[in-house]
Amino acid sequence: MLLAALAALVLADASTASQLAWLGAAVALVFLAIGMALGSASAVHVAVAVLGGIFLLRHDTRLLLAPVYGAGLLLVEDLAIQTIELRGVGVVALDVVGARTAGVLAIATIGAVAAAAGALAVTAAPGRSVALTALGALAAVAAVAVIAWVARRRYRASE
């Protein structure tokens, strides 16, 4: 349902590229279904990536919807992954799903707020320049690198 809502958000404003948007939504739906049926997290990630990609087909270039869309995608991704993770579990206590979904919802809200702040910064910026692009690239690489480094440390510690 969440996936359909996100796809509808794109389809409502993709007049000239509506066929492509429909196709993207259908591909995302198929991948999500395959991922949940076969227990493949990769297929779910592909579905989320495709769904994220079709957001660019929107005509409205205002950035305020992107954070909400990203938060929605995160929820779709986590709910699908939860479904996969709990496949072999015979009995699941209700609070297992409830607590995790509430946690993800909270993080998605924080992420959306952070993204909205980013959107405001982008609209206030004086325009595209080489220096700004380089700074953005550096920030992106640094963010991913820090997260990857922390993740690596955690995995190594648990091994």
Partner: protein
């Protein structure tokens, strides 16, 4: 986790490459999720205990396994707990159980344990998968000590047993062939020096004009050797001939010990185990414990009666061989025992119930031939004076033993000749 970072990275790279900041904004919740998730994630400190409410039970009956899980860590964890188990044990719930444990919290999970077959079974250790609250990191491991449950075989109540030909000079319930102190009347004979006055039959004395006394048969016990054939078995999904053989052995041991016989057990197969003859309830538990470890051990070794210690096969013992009669070595053993003069009865645990005739015509013919071969083999054993009781699955052992007793009554003169 890798997927999340990859998605966030793809969004950022896509935004930079296409010059569309929307992708970076869409990726932002993913980045925040990965970052916060990693910062909050702590390695869980879990403790698991497995406890059974009963460690001894009958096969097919239930016990309760309680799994106590404690979270000694600093944050909440989602936990999936599954119990490792032996092959012939069923658990309810069969799969894993998912719970959420707060920091310092504990939970008790109940699993219904049911052994499908006699034997010693293991419950545990627990396979535990723990995730932090957001599911960013996962730990897996085995926790807790395994608990053992011993399932005793279901036994049939036997009203009638095979009557032994010879008895031992111990007090029992069998009327001995010899004469002595007892209840059962045997004969009248002339008075001899040393006879008790209370044994004088006054009516016969008056009639014959000389003192006559009553002779009686004493009540003696006998030695019974249970010979369990573990060379070979026929098995299908529902079970095997060894399962039934052990049930029969347990029922026979209980019934024989109840009538005050000395009972020995010989587990005769790829490996040889035995229990010397003894009386009483302790011997019953020894026998059942020994039966629980019975198994088919594949071996090419040729064994015969000489492999069995003499003290396990006392002379004059009634030997009850419980066998599916599938292996040449068991047949040779049975024949050899009879030729050595042992009072022998074979309880054939029928393998026919575990075999199907097949679908094709050739299979059906082969099946019929096999059945005829088995009938011929049974006739050959009976011609040697060996009573054969055929016990079909789910059948009653009592009527089969009654058939053997009938055979033994008619076969005795032939055996003497």
């Amino acid at each position: 986790m890798r997927g999340l970072i990859a998605l966030a990275g793809a969004g950022l790279v896509g935004a930079l490459a296409s010059g569309r900041p929307e992708l970076a904004l869409i990726a932002m919740p993913f980045l925040v999720f990965a970052g916060v998730g990693l910062v909050l994630a702590r390695e869980p400190r879990l403790a698991v205990e497995i406890e059974l409410d009963r460690t001894r039970l009958l096969e097919g009956s239930d016990a309760m396994a309680t799994v106590r899980v404690r979270n000694d860590g600093g944050g909440p964890v989602q936990i999936e707990v599954a119990l490792l188990r032996s092959r012939n044990l069923t658990l309810d719930p069969a799969g894993a159980v998912g719970i959420l444990l707060r920091a310092g919290g504990h939970s008790e999970l109940a699993f219904d344990v049911r052994p499908q077959r006699w034997g010693s079974h293991a419950v545990g250790p627990a396979v535990v998968r723990a995730r932090d609250l957001l599911g960013v990191t996962t730990w897996e491991g085995r926790l807790g000590r395994r608990a053992d449950v011993r399932a005793f075989p279901r036994e049939q109540r036997l009203r009638e047993l095979v009557a032994p030909l010879r008895t031992q000079p111990f007090l029992g319930t069998h009327v001995a062939r010899v004469r002595g102190e007892g209840i059962e009347f045997a004969d009248i004979r002339p008075f001899r020096a040393g006879d008790r006055v209370r044994h004088i039959n006054w009516r016969a004395t008056a009639r014959r004009g000389a003192p006559q006394v009553n002779d009686r048969h004493p009540e003696h016990s006998s030695d019974v050797v249970l010979l369990l054939d573990t060379f070979e078995e026929a098995r299908d999904r529902a079970g095997g001939t060894l399962d039934d053989a052990v049930r029969a052995a347990a029922a026979l041991a209980r019934a024989c010990l109840a009538r005050r016989d000395r009972v020995a057990l010989v587990d005769f197969g790829g490996t040889l185990h035995w229990l010397e003859p003894a009386f009483g309830a302790t011997q019953l538990y020894r026998i059942i414990d020994a039966l629980l470890s019975s198994d088919i051990a594949f071996s090419y070794a040729w064994r015969n009666v000489d492999s069995i210690p003499l003290r396990v096969l006392p002379s004059g013992a009634l030997v009850l061989a419980i066998s599916p009669l599938l292996d040449e070595r068991s047949l040779a053993m049975v024949t050899d025992l009879r030729r050595r003069g042992f009072d022998l009865t074979v309880i054939e645990v029928s393998p026919l119930d575990h075999a199907s005739p097949g679908e094709s015509g050739d299979d059906a013919v082969a099946f019929r031939l096999w059945r005829l071969q088995r009938e011929a083999m049974r006739a050959r054993l009976q011609s040697l004076g060996i009573g054969v009781a055929v016990w079909a699955r789910d059948g009653d052992l009592g009527p089969a033993l009654e058939g053997v007793n009938r055979f033994r009554r008619s076969a005795r003169p032939a055996m003497r000749a």
